[in-house]
Symmetry: C2
Subunit: 340 residues, 2 copies
């Protein structure tokens, strides 16, 4: 900035005034400063307003894996919700503790004004310790102990709704795909709880043999789990998958095995990603209001940045059931005024 | 840092030495400084090594849309290729000029050491102007005039390979889905060129009525284009889609219309995304070596950061054809040692 001032023959304060768009600079001076800025390739690295308030205007969005479609779609919702207010910097942790710590260390401090985090390994006080005062809103997993603002669907209820839908179709041997026993916490545990509650409420016997663990949440993990289940001789009449990617892997295996969906086995997922509207058959799913997740999370974060001492809030986001072909409804792609 | 020094009763230089891990600090002093850092919540915002070199250790990866699966998978490849060297900050531009400019302005300057950019609207000198000296490597689109390092597949040849594969199946009325006429540049133009070249080389008449424009590269755009084509009474015997997302939309429409793939219409995409391995039918595709894109781009960027004046380089990445059910090969999910 000093070089710009020297070249333009003005004070650094005047350069700052031009950058900040203050009106008490003559047009001639403004032009001279702008020419000097261009000539030197000088870039103020944040907007004027943010500079004045000691902010960067950037928010970190930290998710486990962008190639799980839910997180890619969520990232777009954040981009759209942030328009004109924040620049969203996206980071992936792959659910690995070391990477989660490294990302928090890299983004903290001076880079972002705040963080929206979908945590997988860091929890409770340990997590707050790593954040060291950076304003944060948690999404997805339920944080231990209400230490930070949190935005999420009611995972237990949403899972229960999905399984009740399957029970309503007359299905009684319902498998769950996506169980995690290590660590036995977070979203998978909540969805398993909702699954068990729905079975129990309907007087159906739970069968641990139908609760399928997966080492991850990609299509291949769903395909592997379904293959293993069928190879064990199990024949469920419905499957509740803890996300859509798992369900799409399950659909592929059922197709290869010659099992009809939904006639032989009904399948429902969770996330309502775009892919499930185009798959064959199209995929029924629990649809969390992703736009609301992004909007509410950014609103909370903005408030947290302004008022660090505000009380911690817990926001529950709505969800709906999207019933498509995989649980029985024949439909089009929505091209020309259709369904999804 | 001054506060930390005061609380620990040492000089700021000593604080810096502790942060940088220098050995000539006594254990007692080190502990005192670390206690003060913890107590004050002080965070040096970059690693010690980067601090010494005036770097942040962060690289911006700027892509059009993460909910186009290719870019989400590419982002993961970058994350894996960067491990231990860079922190990757991901940005989406939605292919909008204003957002492209805003992202470059936000990331430039002090935030990142360099940028990997998949540009859509900014081109040539205009683009270099906006970058204003920030080290950059371009991926995807061919930059005008060799102004920056560039890593990409040979899009013309890859498209030609895909269409030659369809011709080899005996197909002669081959549609192209994903044409852009505005702006008539970049990757879509290269893939269209390859498509036309393959038809020409085989002595097949080109038919502009089979070249389908799409306003974007999502599944719904492929579905809409295929619907419009069929509604016009066209009946191609094969379709080459400029990306897999378009092809997955096309597959859905063909299913709804009762057209058999590949018997009635063979379909091939471009990108080889995970989704196409699990779709029904599974999707044949041109597979660019995404890992190589990420590794080569980061290697070039590293060199560009070290040596800003090095000559500009153009790297061509390899590609392969992945033949699956949508052009005739029956296969499994790869579970248990299978195909993809």
């Amino acid at each position: 900035m000093k070089d710009v001032a020297a070249l333009a023959g003005v004070s650094p304060k005047t350069v700052s005034n031009v950058i900040n768009g203050f009106v008490h600079v003559t047009p001639a001076t403004r032009d001279r400063v702008k020419d000097a800025i261009r000539h030197l390739g000088y870039r103020p690295n944040t907007s004027a307003r943010n500079l004045r308030r000691g902010r960067t205007g950037m928010v970190g969005l930290i998710v486990p894996e962008l190639d799980i479609p839910y997180f890619a779609e969520l990232a777009r919702c954040f981009l759209e919700a942030a328009a004109g207010r924040f620049t969203i910097l996206i980071e992936q942790t792959l659910g690995e503790r070391e990477r989660e710590e490294a990302v928090l260390a890299a983004l903290g401090g001076k880079v972002v004004d705040g963080i929206v985090l979908s945590p997988l390994t860091l929890r409770g006080t340990e997590l707050m310790d790593r954040l060291a005062g950076t304003p944060v809103v948690l999404i997805g997993e339920r944080p231990s102990g209400g230490l930070a603002d949190h935005v999420a669907v009611d995972n237990i209820r949403a899972a229960r709704d999905a399984v009740q839908h399957l029970i309503g179709l007359g299905r009684g041997r319902i498998a769950a795909v996506g169980v995690r026993s290590e660590p036995f916490v977070g979203t998978p545990l909540l969805r398993l709880t909702g699954y068990r509650e729905a079975l129990h409420a309907a007087g159906l016997p739970g069968d641990r043999g139908l609760e399928c663990e997966t080492p991850g949440y990609h299509r291949r993990h769903g395909a592997d789990a379904m293959t293993a289940l069928l190879d064990r001789g199990e024949r469920p009449d419905a499957v509740f998958c803890f996300n859509d990617a798992l369900a799409l892997g399950v659909l592929r295996v059922l197709h290869e095995r010659g099992l009809r969906v939904p006639e032989d086995i009904a399948v429902i997922g969770f996330d309502d990603v775009d892919e499930g509207r185009f798959s064959v058959p199209s995929l029924s799913s629990v649809s969390p209001d992703k736009t609301a997740v992004a909007e509410r999370a950014l609103a909370l974060l903005q408030e947290r940045i302004e008022t660090p001492s505000a009380p911690v809030r817990e926001i529950v986001i709505g969800h709906r059931l999207r019933v498509r072909e995989s649980t029985g409804v024949r439909e089009g792609t929505g091209t020309g005024g259709g369904t999804p």
